[in-house]
Symmetry: C2
DNA sequence: CGAAAAGTTGAACTGAATCAATGCCGGTGG
DNA sequence: CCACCGGCATTGATTCAGTTCAACTTTTCG
Protein backbone atom coordinates (compact mmCIF):
# COMPACT_ATOMS: atom_id res chain seq x y z
CA UNK A 1 0.00 0.00 0.00
CA UNK A 2 2.69 2.53 0.91
CA UNK A 3 6.27 2.81 -0.12
CA UNK A 4 9.25 3.51 2.04
CA UNK A 5 10.33 6.89 0.74
CA UNK A 6 14.03 7.54 0.50
CA UNK A 7 15.86 10.79 0.12
CA UNK A 8 18.97 11.10 -1.96
CA UNK A 9 20.18 9.54 -5.18
CA UNK A 10 20.22 12.81 -7.04
CA UNK A 11 22.60 14.08 -9.66
CA UNK A 12 23.02 17.48 -11.21
CA UNK A 13 21.51 17.49 -14.64
CA UNK A 14 20.79 20.99 -15.74
CA UNK A 15 22.67 24.12 -14.79
CA UNK A 16 20.78 26.74 -16.68
CA UNK A 17 23.51 27.14 -19.25
CA UNK A 18 21.74 25.62 -22.28
CA UNK A 19 19.48 28.58 -22.97
CA UNK A 20 19.09 27.24 -26.49
CA UNK A 21 16.72 24.59 -25.15
CA UNK A 22 13.00 24.70 -25.72
CA UNK A 23 11.18 26.86 -23.18
CA UNK A 24 11.13 25.45 -19.70
CA UNK A 25 7.79 24.15 -18.49
CA UNK A 26 7.85 26.80 -15.77
CA UNK A 27 7.99 29.60 -18.32
CA UNK A 28 5.41 27.91 -20.49
CA UNK A 29 3.04 27.51 -17.63
CA UNK A 30 3.27 31.08 -16.43
CA UNK A 31 2.93 32.39 -19.97
CA UNK A 32 -0.57 30.97 -19.99
CA UNK A 33 -1.39 33.32 -17.16
CA UNK A 34 0.47 36.55 -17.92
CA UNK A 35 2.65 38.09 -20.60
CA UNK A 36 6.28 37.67 -19.57
CA UNK A 37 9.11 39.93 -20.68
CA UNK A 38 12.43 38.55 -21.84
CA UNK A 39 13.87 39.51 -18.46
CA UNK A 40 11.10 37.70 -16.63
CA UNK A 41 11.82 34.57 -18.61
CA UNK A 42 15.53 34.82 -17.99
CA UNK A 43 14.94 35.21 -14.26
CA UNK A 44 12.68 32.17 -14.23
CA UNK A 45 15.24 30.13 -16.10
CA UNK A 46 17.75 31.14 -13.46
CA UNK A 47 15.48 29.55 -10.90
CA UNK A 48 15.44 26.30 -12.81
CA UNK A 49 19.21 26.22 -12.79
CA UNK A 50 20.79 23.47 -10.78
CA UNK A 51 17.86 21.13 -11.23
CA UNK A 52 18.47 17.59 -10.09
CA UNK A 53 17.16 14.27 -11.21
CA UNK A 54 15.29 12.62 -8.37
CA UNK A 55 14.43 8.94 -8.11
CA UNK A 56 10.81 7.79 -8.13
CA UNK A 57 9.14 7.57 -4.73
CA UNK A 58 11.50 9.99 -3.05
CA UNK A 59 10.38 12.59 -0.54
CA UNK A 60 11.06 16.22 -1.32
CA UNK A 61 9.50 17.49 1.88
CA UNK A 62 8.50 15.57 4.97
CA UNK A 63 5.67 16.01 7.41
CA UNK A 64 6.69 18.18 10.34
CA UNK A 65 9.58 19.76 8.49
CA UNK A 66 9.94 23.53 8.26
CA UNK A 67 10.20 24.14 4.55
CA UNK A 68 13.30 26.18 3.87
CA UNK A 69 12.74 26.59 0.18
CA UNK A 70 10.22 26.09 -2.57
CA UNK A 71 10.48 23.45 -5.24
CA UNK A 72 9.80 23.46 -8.98
CA UNK A 73 9.06 20.34 -10.94
CA UNK A 74 10.60 20.48 -14.42
CA UNK A 75 9.91 16.93 -15.51
CA UNK A 76 8.04 13.93 -14.19
CA UNK A 77 5.10 13.61 -11.79
CA UNK A 78 5.31 14.45 -8.10
CA UNK A 79 2.57 14.85 -5.51
CA UNK A 80 1.48 16.18 -2.17
CA UNK A 81 0.34 13.32 -0.01
CA UNK A 82 -0.45 12.21 3.48
CA UNK A 83 -0.56 8.86 5.20
CA UNK A 84 -3.22 7.88 7.66
CA UNK A 85 -2.07 6.05 10.77
CA UNK A 86 -3.78 2.99 9.32
CA UNK A 87 -1.36 3.17 6.41
CA UNK A 88 -3.59 4.36 3.58
CA UNK A 89 -2.13 7.12 1.53
CA UNK A 90 -4.20 9.96 0.10
CA UNK A 91 -2.67 11.95 -2.70
CA UNK A 92 -3.76 15.56 -2.25
CA UNK A 93 -2.44 17.10 -5.45
CA UNK A 94 -0.39 16.12 -8.44
CA UNK A 95 2.62 18.28 -9.25
CA UNK A 96 3.36 18.33 -12.96
CA UNK A 97 6.18 19.95 -14.92
CA UNK A 98 6.00 23.71 -14.40
CA UNK A 99 4.36 23.44 -10.99
CA UNK A 100 5.85 25.36 -8.12
CA UNK A 101 5.35 23.97 -4.70
CA UNK A 102 4.96 26.14 -1.62
CA UNK A 103 5.64 29.61 -2.86
CA UNK A 104 4.63 30.83 0.54
CA UNK A 105 7.07 28.57 2.29
CA UNK A 106 8.37 31.53 4.28
CA UNK A 107 5.05 32.02 6.09
CA UNK A 108 4.66 28.38 6.78
CA UNK A 109 5.21 26.69 10.08
CA UNK A 110 5.56 22.96 9.77
CA UNK A 111 4.44 20.83 6.87
CA UNK A 112 1.13 19.11 7.57
CA UNK A 113 1.64 16.86 4.56
CA UNK A 114 4.55 15.48 2.55
CA UNK A 115 5.69 16.15 -0.98
CA UNK A 116 7.34 13.41 -2.98
CA UNK A 117 8.06 12.18 -6.46
CA UNK A 118 5.94 9.51 -8.10
CA UNK A 119 7.98 8.96 -11.24
CA UNK A 120 11.58 10.02 -11.66
CA UNK A 121 11.57 13.81 -11.66
CA UNK A 122 13.72 16.72 -12.63
CA UNK A 123 13.40 19.12 -9.72
CA UNK A 124 14.91 22.49 -8.82
CA UNK A 125 14.93 23.92 -5.33
CA UNK A 126 14.40 27.63 -4.94
CA UNK A 127 15.78 29.25 -1.85
CA UNK A 128 13.59 31.57 0.12
CA UNK A 129 15.89 34.47 -0.80
CA UNK A 130 15.91 33.74 -4.51
CA UNK A 131 12.15 33.59 -4.44
CA UNK A 132 11.83 36.85 -2.53
CA UNK A 133 14.20 38.51 -4.96
CA UNK A 134 12.38 37.47 -8.09
CA UNK A 135 8.99 38.39 -6.65
CA UNK A 136 10.32 41.82 -5.70
CA UNK A 137 12.00 42.53 -9.05
CA UNK A 138 9.49 40.92 -11.39
CA UNK A 139 5.97 41.93 -10.45
CA UNK A 140 4.56 40.15 -13.46
CA UNK A 141 6.09 36.91 -12.31
CA UNK A 142 4.72 37.56 -8.85
CA UNK A 143 1.28 38.00 -10.32
CA UNK A 144 1.63 34.84 -12.37
CA UNK A 145 2.58 32.87 -9.28
CA UNK A 146 -0.47 34.21 -7.46
CA UNK A 147 -2.69 33.19 -10.33
CA UNK A 148 -1.08 29.76 -10.48
CA UNK A 149 -1.91 29.38 -6.84
CA UNK A 150 -5.53 30.30 -7.47
CA UNK A 151 -5.65 27.64 -10.16
CA UNK A 152 -4.24 25.15 -7.70
CA UNK A 153 -6.99 26.01 -5.25
CA UNK A 154 -9.66 25.67 -7.92
CA UNK A 155 -8.18 22.28 -8.74
CA UNK A 156 -8.41 21.25 -5.11
CA UNK A 157 -12.09 22.18 -5.16
CA UNK A 158 -12.63 20.01 -8.22
CA UNK A 159 -10.94 17.15 -6.40
CA UNK A 160 -13.33 17.62 -3.49
CA UNK A 161 -16.22 17.25 -5.89
CA UNK A 162 -14.51 14.26 -7.44
CA UNK A 163 -14.11 12.47 -4.15
CA UNK A 164 -17.36 13.60 -2.62
CA UNK A 165 -19.81 13.41 -5.46
CA UNK A 166 -18.60 11.53 -8.52
CA UNK A 167 -18.58 7.82 -9.35
CA UNK A 168 -15.36 5.95 -10.05
CA UNK A 169 -15.65 6.33 -13.83
CA UNK A 170 -16.51 10.00 -13.63
CA UNK A 171 -13.66 10.66 -11.24
CA UNK A 172 -11.15 9.00 -13.43
CA UNK A 173 -12.41 10.72 -16.54
CA UNK A 174 -12.20 14.05 -14.75
CA UNK A 175 -8.68 13.44 -13.59
CA UNK A 176 -7.57 12.51 -17.09
CA UNK A 177 -9.15 15.64 -18.53
CA UNK A 178 -7.40 17.74 -15.93
CA UNK A 179 -4.04 16.12 -16.58
CA UNK A 180 -4.34 16.49 -20.32
CA UNK A 181 -5.25 20.16 -20.03
CA UNK A 182 -2.47 20.92 -17.59
CA UNK A 183 0.13 19.08 -19.65
CA UNK A 184 -1.04 20.76 -22.84
CA UNK A 185 -0.40 24.07 -21.14
CA UNK A 186 3.27 23.21 -20.80
CA UNK A 187 3.65 21.64 -24.22
CA UNK A 188 3.74 18.07 -22.98
CA UNK A 189 0.65 16.76 -24.73
CA UNK A 190 -0.21 16.19 -28.35
CA UNK A 191 -3.27 14.83 -30.10
CA UNK A 192 -5.18 14.47 -26.86
CA UNK A 193 -2.48 12.23 -25.46
CA UNK A 194 0.17 12.58 -22.79
CA UNK A 195 2.54 10.62 -20.57
CA UNK A 196 1.10 9.13 -17.42
CA UNK A 197 4.18 7.90 -15.57
CA UNK A 198 2.43 6.60 -12.48
CA UNK A 199 1.09 3.23 -11.38
CA UNK A 200 -2.50 2.18 -10.95
CA UNK A 201 -1.83 2.17 -7.24
CA UNK A 202 -0.86 5.84 -7.37
CA UNK A 203 -4.03 6.48 -9.31
CA UNK A 204 -6.01 4.61 -6.68
CA UNK A 205 -4.59 6.75 -3.87
CA UNK A 206 -5.37 9.85 -5.90
CA UNK A 207 -8.95 8.91 -6.64
CA UNK A 208 -9.80 7.37 -3.30
CA UNK A 209 -10.38 3.95 -4.86
CA UNK A 210 -8.82 0.52 -4.46
CA UNK A 211 -6.24 -0.44 -7.05
CA UNK A 212 -8.40 -3.35 -8.13
CA UNK A 213 -11.25 -1.02 -8.87
CA UNK A 214 -8.96 1.39 -10.68
CA UNK A 215 -7.98 -1.46 -12.93
CA UNK A 216 -11.58 -2.33 -13.66
CA UNK A 217 -12.56 1.27 -14.20
CA UNK A 218 -9.73 1.70 -16.70
CA UNK A 219 -10.99 -1.33 -18.57
CA UNK A 220 -14.44 0.12 -18.68
CA UNK A 221 -13.19 3.39 -20.11
CA UNK A 222 -11.19 1.45 -22.70
CA UNK A 223 -14.10 -0.77 -23.57
CA UNK A 224 -16.24 2.28 -24.21
CA UNK A 225 -13.58 3.56 -26.58
CA UNK A 226 -13.02 6.65 -24.46
CA UNK A 227 -9.37 6.21 -23.64
CA UNK A 228 -6.27 4.30 -24.59
CA UNK A 229 -3.68 3.57 -21.94
CA UNK A 230 -0.71 1.39 -22.71
CA UNK A 231 2.59 1.43 -20.94
CA UNK A 232 2.84 4.90 -19.52
CA UNK A 233 1.03 6.82 -22.17
CA UNK A 234 -2.54 7.97 -22.10
CA UNK A 235 -4.73 9.07 -24.94
CA UNK A 236 -8.25 10.43 -24.75
CA UNK A 237 -9.78 8.94 -27.87
CA UNK A 238 -13.03 10.80 -27.58
CA UNK A 239 -12.36 14.04 -25.79
CA UNK A 240 -15.89 15.47 -26.01
CA UNK A 241 -17.40 12.33 -24.56
CA UNK A 242 -14.82 12.05 -21.82
CA UNK A 243 -15.41 15.67 -20.89
CA UNK A 244 -19.14 15.17 -20.88
CA UNK A 245 -18.83 12.12 -18.69
CA UNK A 246 -16.58 14.01 -16.29
CA UNK A 247 -18.50 17.29 -16.41
CA UNK A 248 -15.10 18.80 -17.08
CA UNK A 249 -14.97 22.55 -17.58
CA UNK A 250 -11.46 23.75 -18.28
CA UNK A 251 -11.77 27.45 -17.38
CA UNK A 252 -11.16 26.81 -13.70
CA UNK A 253 -7.54 26.29 -14.62
CA UNK A 254 -7.28 29.85 -15.92
CA UNK A 255 -8.34 31.98 -12.98
CA UNK A 256 -7.52 35.37 -14.52
CA UNK A 257 -10.21 34.81 -17.11
CA UNK B 1 -31.66 17.62 -2.76
CA UNK B 2 -31.03 21.22 -3.76
CA UNK B 3 -32.64 24.43 -2.66
CA UNK B 4 -33.67 27.37 -4.74
CA UNK B 5 -31.39 30.08 -3.45
CA UNK B 6 -32.79 33.55 -3.13
CA UNK B 7 -31.00 36.83 -2.76
CA UNK B 8 -32.34 39.61 -0.64
CA UNK B 9 -34.34 39.77 2.56
CA UNK B 10 -31.60 41.48 4.49
CA UNK B 11 -31.74 44.18 7.11
CA UNK B 12 -29.04 46.30 8.66
CA UNK B 13 -28.21 45.02 12.08
CA UNK B 14 -24.84 46.26 13.14
CA UNK B 15 -23.17 49.50 12.21
CA UNK B 16 -19.95 49.29 14.14
CA UNK B 17 -21.07 51.83 16.72
CA UNK B 18 -21.45 49.56 19.73
CA UNK B 19 -17.74 49.19 20.46
CA UNK B 20 -18.67 48.11 23.95
CA UNK B 21 -19.68 44.70 22.58
CA UNK B 22 -17.65 41.58 23.12
CA UNK B 23 -14.86 41.20 20.56
CA UNK B 24 -16.02 40.44 17.07
CA UNK B 25 -15.35 36.92 15.85
CA UNK B 26 -13.13 38.37 13.15
CA UNK B 27 -10.83 39.96 15.72
CA UNK B 28 -10.92 36.86 17.88
CA UNK B 29 -10.00 34.64 15.00
CA UNK B 30 -7.07 36.73 13.83
CA UNK B 31 -5.80 37.12 17.37
CA UNK B 32 -5.16 33.41 17.37
CA UNK B 33 -2.71 33.95 14.56
CA UNK B 34 -0.95 37.23 15.33
CA UNK B 35 -0.80 39.89 18.02
CA UNK B 36 -3.07 42.75 17.01
CA UNK B 37 -2.66 46.35 18.14
CA UNK B 38 -5.58 48.43 19.32
CA UNK B 39 -5.52 50.18 15.93
CA UNK B 40 -5.58 46.88 14.09
CA UNK B 41 -8.62 45.83 16.04
CA UNK B 42 -10.36 49.12 15.43
CA UNK B 43 -9.71 48.83 11.71
CA UNK B 44 -11.11 45.31 11.66
CA UNK B 45 -14.19 46.42 13.53
CA UNK B 46 -14.67 49.08 10.89
CA UNK B 47 -14.80 46.31 8.32
CA UNK B 48 -17.55 44.56 10.22
CA UNK B 49 -19.61 47.72 10.21
CA UNK B 50 -22.78 47.63 8.21
CA UNK B 51 -23.24 43.91 8.62
CA UNK B 52 -26.57 42.57 7.49
CA UNK B 53 -28.70 39.70 8.57
CA UNK B 54 -29.13 37.26 5.72
CA UNK B 55 -31.78 34.58 5.43
CA UNK B 56 -30.84 30.89 5.44
CA UNK B 57 -30.12 29.38 2.02
CA UNK B 58 -29.31 32.67 0.37
CA UNK B 59 -26.51 33.09 -2.13
CA UNK B 60 -23.79 35.60 -1.32
CA UNK B 61 -21.89 34.95 -4.54
CA UNK B 62 -22.98 33.10 -7.62
CA UNK B 63 -21.08 30.93 -10.07
CA UNK B 64 -19.77 32.96 -12.99
CA UNK B 65 -19.96 36.23 -11.12
CA UNK B 66 -16.95 38.54 -10.87
CA UNK B 67 -16.59 39.04 -7.15
CA UNK B 68 -16.53 42.76 -6.44
CA UNK B 69 -15.86 42.48 -2.78
CA UNK B 70 -14.96 40.08 -0.03
CA UNK B 71 -17.33 38.89 2.62
CA UNK B 72 -16.99 38.29 6.36
CA UNK B 73 -19.26 36.03 8.30
CA UNK B 74 -19.96 37.39 11.78
CA UNK B 75 -22.60 34.93 12.86
CA UNK B 76 -24.16 31.75 11.53
CA UNK B 77 -22.90 29.11 9.11
CA UNK B 78 -22.27 29.73 5.42
CA UNK B 79 -20.48 27.65 2.84
CA UNK B 80 -18.77 27.43 -0.50
CA UNK B 81 -20.58 24.94 -2.67
CA UNK B 82 -21.11 23.73 -6.17
CA UNK B 83 -23.86 21.85 -7.92
CA UNK B 84 -23.29 19.07 -10.40
CA UNK B 85 -25.46 19.10 -13.49
CA UNK B 86 -27.15 16.02 -12.06
CA UNK B 87 -28.26 18.17 -9.15
CA UNK B 88 -26.08 16.89 -6.31
CA UNK B 89 -24.52 19.58 -4.24
CA UNK B 90 -21.04 19.31 -2.81
CA UNK B 91 -20.16 21.68 0.00
CA UNK B 92 -16.53 22.67 -0.44
CA UNK B 93 -15.92 24.56 2.75
CA UNK B 94 -17.84 25.78 5.76
CA UNK B 95 -17.60 29.47 6.58
CA UNK B 96 -17.96 30.12 10.29
CA UNK B 97 -18.07 33.35 12.26
CA UNK B 98 -14.79 35.19 11.75
CA UNK B 99 -14.13 33.66 8.37
CA UNK B 100 -13.29 35.95 5.50
CA UNK B 101 -14.19 34.80 2.07
CA UNK B 102 -12.12 35.64 -0.99
CA UNK B 103 -9.56 38.06 0.26
CA UNK B 104 -7.95 37.84 -3.14
CA UNK B 105 -11.16 38.71 -4.91
CA UNK B 106 -9.32 41.41 -6.87
CA UNK B 107 -7.16 38.84 -8.69
CA UNK B 108 -10.04 36.59 -9.41
CA UNK B 109 -11.78 36.19 -12.71
CA UNK B 110 -15.12 34.51 -12.38
CA UNK B 111 -16.35 32.43 -9.51
CA UNK B 112 -16.06 28.70 -10.23
CA UNK B 113 -18.25 27.95 -7.24
CA UNK B 114 -20.95 29.69 -5.23
CA UNK B 115 -21.01 30.99 -1.69
CA UNK B 116 -24.22 30.94 0.30
CA UNK B 117 -25.65 30.88 3.78
CA UNK B 118 -26.80 27.66 5.40
CA UNK B 119 -28.36 29.10 8.55
CA UNK B 120 -29.37 32.72 8.98
CA UNK B 121 -26.15 34.71 9.00
CA UNK B 122 -24.80 38.06 9.99
CA UNK B 123 -22.58 39.07 7.10
CA UNK B 124 -20.51 42.13 6.22
CA UNK B 125 -19.30 42.92 2.73
CA UNK B 126 -15.86 44.44 2.37
CA UNK B 127 -15.20 46.47 -0.71
CA UNK B 128 -12.07 45.83 -2.68
CA UNK B 129 -10.81 49.31 -1.74
CA UNK B 130 -11.45 48.93 1.95
CA UNK B 131 -9.60 45.65 1.89
CA UNK B 132 -6.65 47.10 -0.01
CA UNK B 133 -6.51 49.98 2.43
CA UNK B 134 -6.43 47.87 5.55
CA UNK B 135 -3.86 45.50 4.10
CA UNK B 136 -1.64 48.43 3.19
CA UNK B 137 -1.94 50.24 6.53
CA UNK B 138 -1.99 47.24 8.83
CA UNK B 139 0.74 44.78 7.91
CA UNK B 140 -0.03 42.63 10.90
CA UNK B 141 -3.61 42.23 9.74
CA UNK B 142 -2.32 41.41 6.28
CA UNK B 143 -0.14 38.71 7.75
CA UNK B 144 -3.01 37.34 9.78
CA UNK B 145 -5.17 37.13 6.68
CA UNK B 146 -2.42 35.25 4.86
CA UNK B 147 -2.12 32.82 7.73
CA UNK B 148 -5.88 32.38 7.85
CA UNK B 149 -5.77 31.48 4.21
CA UNK B 150 -3.07 28.89 4.83
CA UNK B 151 -5.27 27.39 7.52
CA UNK B 152 -8.12 27.27 5.04
CA UNK B 153 -5.93 25.39 2.59
CA UNK B 154 -4.84 22.95 5.25
CA UNK B 155 -8.49 22.41 6.07
CA UNK B 156 -9.24 21.68 2.44
CA UNK B 157 -6.50 19.04 2.48
CA UNK B 158 -8.07 17.42 5.52
CA UNK B 159 -11.37 17.37 3.70
CA UNK B 160 -9.72 15.60 0.79
CA UNK B 161 -8.50 12.95 3.18
CA UNK B 162 -11.94 12.81 4.73
CA UNK B 163 -13.68 12.21 1.42
CA UNK B 164 -10.99 10.05 -0.11
CA UNK B 165 -9.87 7.86 2.73
CA UNK B 166 -12.12 7.92 5.78
CA UNK B 167 -15.25 5.95 6.58
CA UNK B 168 -18.55 7.71 7.29
CA UNK B 169 -18.09 7.63 11.06
CA UNK B 170 -14.52 8.84 10.88
CA UNK B 171 -15.46 11.61 8.50
CA UNK B 172 -18.21 12.87 10.68
CA UNK B 173 -16.08 12.69 13.80
CA UNK B 174 -13.37 14.62 12.03
CA UNK B 175 -15.74 17.31 10.86
CA UNK B 176 -17.14 17.74 14.37
CA UNK B 177 -13.64 18.05 15.83
CA UNK B 178 -12.78 20.65 13.23
CA UNK B 179 -15.93 22.65 13.88
CA UNK B 180 -15.47 22.58 17.63
CA UNK B 181 -11.88 23.74 17.35
CA UNK B 182 -12.70 26.52 14.93
CA UNK B 183 -15.64 27.75 16.97
CA UNK B 184 -13.61 27.61 20.17
CA UNK B 185 -11.12 29.91 18.47
CA UNK B 186 -13.79 32.59 18.15
CA UNK B 187 -15.33 32.07 21.55
CA UNK B 188 -18.41 30.26 20.31
CA UNK B 189 -17.89 26.95 22.06
CA UNK B 190 -17.96 25.90 25.68
CA UNK B 191 -17.49 22.58 27.39
CA UNK B 192 -16.76 20.77 24.14
CA UNK B 193 -20.08 21.89 22.75
CA UNK B 194 -21.21 24.34 20.10
CA UNK B 195 -24.10 25.33 17.88
CA UNK B 196 -24.60 23.33 14.71
CA UNK B 197 -27.29 25.29 12.87
CA UNK B 198 -27.46 23.13 9.76
CA UNK B 199 -29.60 20.21 8.64
CA UNK B 200 -28.59 16.59 8.19
CA UNK B 201 -28.92 17.18 4.49
CA UNK B 202 -26.32 19.96 4.64
CA UNK B 203 -24.12 17.60 6.60
CA UNK B 204 -24.62 14.95 3.94
CA UNK B 205 -23.55 17.28 1.14
CA UNK B 206 -20.53 18.25 3.19
CA UNK B 207 -19.43 14.73 3.93
CA UNK B 208 -20.26 13.18 0.57
CA UNK B 209 -22.87 10.88 2.11
CA UNK B 210 -26.61 10.42 1.70
CA UNK B 211 -28.80 12.08 4.29
CA UNK B 212 -30.12 8.70 5.35
CA UNK B 213 -26.63 7.51 6.07
CA UNK B 214 -25.80 10.71 7.92
CA UNK B 215 -28.74 10.02 10.16
CA UNK B 216 -27.57 6.49 10.87
CA UNK B 217 -24.00 7.58 11.43
CA UNK B 218 -25.15 10.18 13.93
CA UNK B 219 -27.06 7.52 15.76
CA UNK B 220 -24.00 5.34 15.88
CA UNK B 221 -21.90 8.15 17.35
CA UNK B 222 -24.62 8.80 19.92
CA UNK B 223 -24.95 5.14 20.78
CA UNK B 224 -21.23 4.96 21.43
CA UNK B 225 -21.56 7.89 23.81
CA UNK B 226 -19.24 10.00 21.71
CA UNK B 227 -21.54 12.87 20.90
CA UNK B 228 -24.81 14.49 21.84
CA UNK B 229 -26.80 16.32 19.20
CA UNK B 230 -30.23 17.70 19.98
CA UNK B 231 -31.93 20.52 18.23
CA UNK B 232 -29.13 22.57 16.78
CA UNK B 233 -26.54 22.02 19.45
CA UNK B 234 -23.67 19.60 19.38
CA UNK B 235 -21.58 18.30 22.21
CA UNK B 236 -18.56 16.04 22.04
CA UNK B 237 -19.02 13.94 25.15
CA UNK B 238 -15.71 12.15 24.84
CA UNK B 239 -13.32 14.45 23.07
CA UNK B 240 -10.24 12.21 23.30
CA UNK B 241 -12.10 9.27 21.82
CA UNK B 242 -13.71 11.33 19.07
CA UNK B 243 -10.32 12.74 18.17
CA UNK B 244 -8.76 9.32 18.15
CA UNK B 245 -11.50 7.96 15.93
CA UNK B 246 -11.09 10.88 13.56
CA UNK B 247 -7.30 10.99 13.69
CA UNK B 248 -7.80 14.66 14.39
CA UNK B 249 -4.69 16.75 14.91
CA UNK B 250 -5.52 20.38 15.62
CA UNK B 251 -2.21 22.06 14.74
CA UNK B 252 -3.06 22.26 11.05
CA UNK B 253 -5.44 25.06 11.98
CA UNK B 254 -2.52 27.14 13.32
CA UNK B 255 -0.17 27.36 10.36
CA UNK B 256 2.28 29.83 11.91
CA UNK B 257 3.18 27.28 14.58
C1' DC C 1 17.53 -15.02 -16.97
C1' DG C 2 15.32 -14.35 -12.77
C1' DA C 3 13.15 -11.65 -9.25
C1' DA C 4 10.21 -7.95 -8.02
C1' DA C 5 6.77 -4.81 -9.27
C1' DA C 6 2.77 -3.94 -11.73
C1' DG C 7 -1.33 -5.37 -13.78
C1' DT C 8 -5.36 -8.62 -14.25
C1' DT C 9 -9.02 -11.75 -12.90
C1' DG C 10 -12.65 -14.07 -10.04
C1' DA C 11 -15.44 -14.69 -5.93
C1' DA C 12 -17.26 -13.22 -1.75
C1' DC C 13 -18.40 -9.50 1.05
C1' DT C 14 -19.90 -4.91 2.85
C1' DG C 15 -20.54 0.02 3.53
C1' DA C 16 -23.33 3.11 1.82
C1' DA C 17 -27.08 4.43 -1.57
C1' DT C 18 -31.70 4.17 -2.82
C1' DC C 19 -36.55 3.79 -2.32
C1' DA C 20 -40.40 4.40 0.27
C1' DA C 21 -43.07 5.07 4.21
C1' DT C 22 -43.72 7.15 8.64
C1' DG C 23 -43.09 10.20 12.51
C1' DC C 24 -42.12 14.62 14.41
C1' DC C 25 -42.00 19.40 15.25
C1' DG C 26 -42.65 24.32 14.56
C1' DG C 27 -45.12 27.64 12.43
C1' DT C 28 -49.41 29.54 10.27
C1' DG C 29 -53.97 30.50 9.74
C1' DG C 30 -58.68 29.65 10.66
C1' DC D 1 -56.58 26.62 20.55
C1' DC D 2 -56.49 23.35 17.33
C1' DA D 3 -55.85 21.65 12.56
C1' DC D 4 -53.01 21.51 9.05
C1' DC D 5 -48.82 21.95 6.35
C1' DG D 6 -43.98 21.65 5.01
C1' DG D 7 -39.50 20.64 6.09
C1' DC D 8 -36.72 17.63 8.64
C1' DA D 9 -35.65 13.33 11.00
C1' DT D 10 -36.15 8.44 11.41
C1' DT D 11 -36.86 3.58 10.06
C1' DG D 12 -36.93 -0.68 7.25
C1' DA D 13 -36.06 -3.27 3.04
C1' DT D 14 -33.47 -3.74 -0.89
C1' DT D 15 -29.82 -2.94 -4.13
C1' DC D 16 -25.34 -1.81 -5.74
C1' DA D 17 -20.81 0.25 -6.26
C1' DG D 18 -16.72 -0.54 -4.65
C1' DT D 19 -13.63 -3.39 -1.31
C1' DT D 20 -11.15 -7.29 0.05
C1' DC D 21 -8.73 -11.43 -0.53
C1' DA D 22 -6.23 -14.38 -3.18
C1' DA D 23 -4.38 -16.30 -7.12
C1' DC D 24 -2.34 -15.69 -11.45
C1' DT D 25 -0.03 -13.24 -15.52
C1' DT D 26 2.73 -9.84 -17.57
C1' DT D 27 6.17 -6.42 -17.63
C1' DT D 28 10.22 -4.27 -16.08
C1' DC D 29 14.71 -4.12 -14.91
C1' DG D 30 19.09 -5.47 -12.88
Amino acid sequence: MSHAQNIGAASIVRDGSHEADAKSPLVRKLENLVRLSREDRAALDQLSAGARLIEPHTDLMRVGERPADAVVVLDGFACRYKHRVTGERQILALLLPGDVCDVDAPHLGRMDHAVGTLSACLVARISRDALAAIVARHPTVARALRLAKLAEEATAREWLINLGARSATERMAHLFCELLTRLEAVGLARENGCKLPITQLDLADTLGLSSVHVNRTLQELRRKGLIELRGRSLKLRDLPDVRALAEFNPPYLRPAH
